[in-house]
Symmetry: D3
Subunit: 314 residues, 6 copies
């Protein structure tokens, strides 16, 4: 194979790969100047958020009482800038940028993005308050935790929950794409996959966490504890007349306050697990559980459920 043959072959491959027909539907064209969804910027957003929420534990520099305000001020300013760009990127992602009114649309999106940023940042004090309950719950429930600082520094679940709680605020503002990218970053880092649309109360803990899946329409109360490998998924989902899944239907479990679910258990469908229930390791549940009940063994009713058809996990 001569040098010429190699070059010929490569040029032909480049031509095939650049053929716009072959790219139909899987090629994302951007309007010039629009910001791009950026994993690098989202990582900085996460780092900034963590260091604003728990100064001294995350972030590169030391802090002290007198000067902490400067640090938080600068971090909030940087966060505002980056969040604005990524929210714009999300809004543009969902919008036809080549229509005749693109310029006007874009201006509207600008204004909207600006407002969303301010509203989301204004929620940071509340985020810190609820995350503090998650930290306390993790410490109280783990004899291996030496102190609160170890929980904040080391526990992967906290990282996943910080990302989720931030992404959830963005999801509530209907920002497309970006919330999911943020929770997937935590998924990659920790093995914990929480859909940004899920609803989760205070004092929430996940121990170890690898393999946990929490679906989009889950509703989780306060003081709930999950172990590694737990799935809160869908049992089945209705299809439309084209055989495509219908979007937006409630299909994941409701867990009331003080529920505990042990390792690798699987809970499927829009069922309600009552207050204080305990579900053992490796069992699965497809029917409602009364408050304060326990299930350590696989029940026949769950398995033999006549209308049973597994659905999508989230």
């Amino acid at each position: 194979m001569s040098k010429q043959d190699i070059t010929q072959q490569l040029i032909q491959t480049i031509d095939e790969l650049s053929d716009l027909n072959a790219l139909q539907g899987i090629f994302h064209e951007h309007r010039d100047g629009d910001p791009l969804p950026s994993a690098v910027e989202l990582e900085e957003i996460i780092m900034l958020s963590r260091s604003i929420l728990f100064p001294g534990f995350f972030g590169r520099s030391s802090v002290n009482c007198e000067t902490i305000k400067y640090q938080i001020g600068v971090n909030i300013e940087r966060l505002q800038k980056l969040l604005y760009r990524q929210i714009m990127a999300g809004l543009c992602f969902d919008t036809d940028c080549h229509c005749p009114h693109a310029e006007n649309t874009r201006r509207c999106l600008n204004v909207e993005a600006e407002k969303i940023v301010v509203r989301v940042i204004a929620k940071f004090p509340k985020l810190r308050t609820i995350l503090s309950t998650d930290i306390q719950a993790a410490f109280d429930g783990d004899p291996a935790a030496a102190n609160i600082g170890e929980v904040i520094s080391c526990y992967p679940a906290l990282k996943a929950v910080i990302n989720y709680r931030l992404a959830h605020e963005l999801a509530l503002e209907n920002v497309p794409l970006i919330p999911r990218m943020i929770t997937e970053m935590a998924h990659s880092e920790t093995g914990i996959d929480i859909h940004p649309a899920a609803t989760i109360g205070s004092h929430f803990t996940i121990d170890h966490g690898t393999g946990v899946v929490i679906g989009a329409t889950c509703i989780i109360g306060n003081h709930v504890k999950l172990y590694q490998g737990v799935t809160l998924g869908a049992k089945s989902f209705p299809l439309d007349k084209d055989g495509k899944p219908i979007k937006g239907i409630a299909r994941h479990p409701i867990l009331k306050d003080y529920v505990v679910v042990y390792a690798n258990a699987t809970i499927l469908g829009r069922i309600t697990i009552g207050k204080g229930c305990v579900i053992g390791a490796n069992v699965w549940v497809t029917r409602d559980m009364r408050p304060q009940s326990k299930k350590y063994k696989q029940s026949k009713t769950d398995i033999l459920d006549t209308d049973f058809e597994y659905g999508d996990g989230i």
Copy 2:
């Protein structure tokens, strides 16, 4: 402990650690000038491949219809250079570089590496075609997916499958080490562990994915869907007369078209799961299943299998 004592202790440790006898078998000596397997270069290879296959979704810069060819051209050139180096690194890794004919051997490897690179790059248009079916299947099967773009941008399974499909081409060319490094990088990123030697058809999806294991001799048809935590492993493997496992024997399952396997199910051994079968969460299967059959509950025959002996998962 004086400064002198500390230095003495460190120098002695350095001597022990540099002792060539202690390094017997676990020290990789390189011939000068041979490229090294490099995680950094492999990561760039993955980034380039993703941005060539799905321009606008991966990669740092924006693209538009008119100028996409320049981007792909430059990326293919860079990919060629890096792939060549890593393929050479893989080939050298397996070759005794200190034999008398090392210089000749090396020249042969050079020529071979050059050819492999061109053949693998020439397959990129086909890789994009089959990956598009994987994307479509993920979108069609998930009510939580807002649009195709979200699937490409966020779904970890797609990242794992891109790595697998690229690594598989390198494995078909008998490149040592590098394919496994590429799939392990996806394993670390997504928790999905697909052996590069496995065979996987079109429209393949994995939901959530953390904990999935697909063994080296698996054969998976078209339109197959797996959920998180599914193992397609070996039940047992024969040993040679030295008690070492015999390499290269088919020992993992065959999944026909349209099979669905739910979360944390375990399928073991060279069995065949017929077309359209459904396997429920947390069950395990060690016997063939007829087409269109379903298994939601643990069967006794699977458990009480007389010749049963668990083997290696891959």
Copy 3:
């Protein structure tokens, strides 16, 4: 929303977030000049350790027999410096740095940190010896492993075990925080969560590994093999009079030599699994097993255990 309104809102949020009352207990103030626990430095420590232990497989540069001593010498020096800083960071993390005797305390910590570093580095030759048995066991037990080099380069379990064995030495020296940070870094990279306080013998292997959890008081013998998703957890843990878990009680399993545990099995409580036992996939065990026994199916006694109460996984 005018520019002024936005700025006003941000400044108010900054004030709320900087309020020291709101930070009570979740803010880590550092004494000036004390080193900080640093993920970046710990990553370099891990990279250095890997390249000192297995030169030519990890680290950026090539090595050859004649000059390996220079590489190891320089790497040990750098390791000494970084380890010293991180050990100091760990010791300071646990110490009240604002008491009147802070200056004296700090000097003591300095001296202690210096000694710990030298002792830990002096153990590197032994670490390499035991890790070599882990590598050999992985190769002997996996028909998919082409050679020893592939095991060292690619297998995630080895990375997790290197981190664990290093962190364990630091834990034996009572360094706070840092050992856990090191094992959590492996957890994020590989999905394998080994507590640094656990005790693990030679020839230890984990196949695939995603989802494995090994608790703090586990004692694992030689030649033990685990598969992905295995939990060695606590069944229950006693609470003190305030309802908080009592720290430091033995609560995780003992696995004797030659035990094998298949995928997603769960072993809970301070029980003893005898020499040569085999535990099947997806089952769980809460009672002692006699040597050489096998358990492929869920037993009633394990499930119906009267004093049963799940506890913390680690």
Copy 4:
């Protein structure tokens, strides 16, 4: 000095430094979202321009005949993006961004910046043509130059002249600030200070170059050669009624074709040095010189010039 005293002192200094009165006139406030003049981006612009103009000599990657188009295509696209941002930064720098019409102004600037970018890039082929004459002249005039490649790779004057010729195009488009920043970057790199507003013909060379100064209203013909330390400056400049220098008056020399000026010579004022003149080292000239004349020694008339008053060098 206690910790508290130190903190007190620092906080007070921060307050003083943030006092807006103290910042009057020397503080540059930006409108949110406007691009900033950026030394980092300008350096990338310079690197891109050099590698577009002389591919294979500048830039990180190798090029070959068949694929050069991809490289240039990608570089032009990146250049367009960066130039647009820096031109906008320059235009905004000169504009009152807080007036009521800021939004409209900004939109006009956008449109203008877009046009300027395209016009400047369209001149790159001509820039390459004239720079090629500069290179040829340097090679022809230097016995120490081994080949054309050495001139392109090593000669600092070429770098200074590339920057100047690019900056000059931007100056012709009335872009504020940015042209001067570009020539000052060459000044720092090479010690050659050419004002972007100067006019310079083809086949222009500067040998060694450190200390050369070429003022804003200079007009230099073709085939001119300067040596290190040459100043083409102003002799005097008229002041307005407030005693401030009047801007925009022609005050620097005109050098006709084929003029040579040796090391450290100083030529001052709006005088004309005729075609083919030679000026010796260390002399200075403040009067016109007839074509083909030479001046190796300081003349009295130049020194005793009655209306003599040195002015600004540029």
Copy 5:
């Protein structure tokens, strides 16, 4: 030359280069833990200082009136940390760290360094005030300057003078080495070499600047203007009985207020140039000049000076 020969030769060279005898006097051994003089940290110190003094012109991020305090606060904190380390590095550089009292000495240095940092930072408001006069003078004296912003952004002399004024404060505090490193960084960037011990008044400007040299014992008044290539050097310096130059003797010129010195002029020795004097390009001066006098031509007395012996330039 075989591989073995090459390795042998390299090892021998390493041995020669590591021979401590050969390193006598030119090898700088550090006490463990002492900070090192660091060009990288000094560059960050310069960048921080510039962006604290002229926010919005230097530094990476945009600023606005409301939030400037956060930026300056964070920058001052970072500056404090870095300056402390570099001042310690300078103090240690001059101190015998291997004497028996090293530990005590080091503690004293620590306390001293801390105080110096606070005192130097406390002078930043005054530094900004005097630098503002330098900027105003540059703008008033240059018809090519479009506005104040261009002077701050582009003029190399301002960068050199910022470095000098900061270094001068450190020199007044008797910090060894570091002040000179800071002015040499400006020398490399701008070609302007100002000794940190020199004394320079307000409204000081240097046009173009390349090649300017200002010696250690110079005293320069207010409103002085220099052009490129000006030397303010020593004419001769007395030697001690060993033939070494005696340190610390006043040997450089005094320039009174409103002096102007044109390009490449050379002023040598402890002479006084009176108020309002003008010195022409390329002349040199070794005798006092009366106030308001001008010298455009070389005078005999300067050249034929009987006790003339050139000395060191600084």
Copy 6:
């Protein structure tokens, strides 16, 4: 100007710039796999050389007596690798890589490059010895130098001379291009331009240095001292029949031992400045000077030289 027009214009410019005819002679095509001359790698070569020669003064890490050998060993190994690549790049730069025998040629170059590297590195101990004399001379001649360490850390001339002495060794080995790139890097950093082919003895110093030019055929004895702005250039150079300068003719001055040349003096042509001569600031010399003579004033004979014709400065 519509989006389409802009894209059209850019594509046309790309076509023009990629036209191979337009690139004739100014485009450097590389053979695949050949190393490229790289400013980045050369900078690392300079940093390594400086830190090998003067450990503790240059380079990032601290050193101590016991472990210095590891540092130097690792640095020499890295230097060997980088120097090999850059020497190859230089050799390939000068060679027609597209002739039929390119493969053989390349192998010869490989062997040659390998030998040159070893020979050059073997000279490092001698380089350190002679550079030590340069350092001593700078210290002895400058009352402003506090100690030897300040000279090594701060003096720009030392940096220029290190680069020159290294480049000179490469020039003696006939490596093309690379030596000149190395001295030009010092030229940019310090303003001192020394041609790598010049010959310079021991105890060589340059004070301040900006603007110094030392031509290719200069021969400089021991104990010579230059000040800033000194030119040792060519007076004229003979042309061949095509009017091009003849290469390789001795055309620059010879300075015998103990010569001192003050600021901005210019010495031109193949003349000999005798032992112990002193040349004053701003004068120029085009005729031989007898030993021990002094010249502080411009002489007529130098100016009125009948055969006078200025030539190239280097």
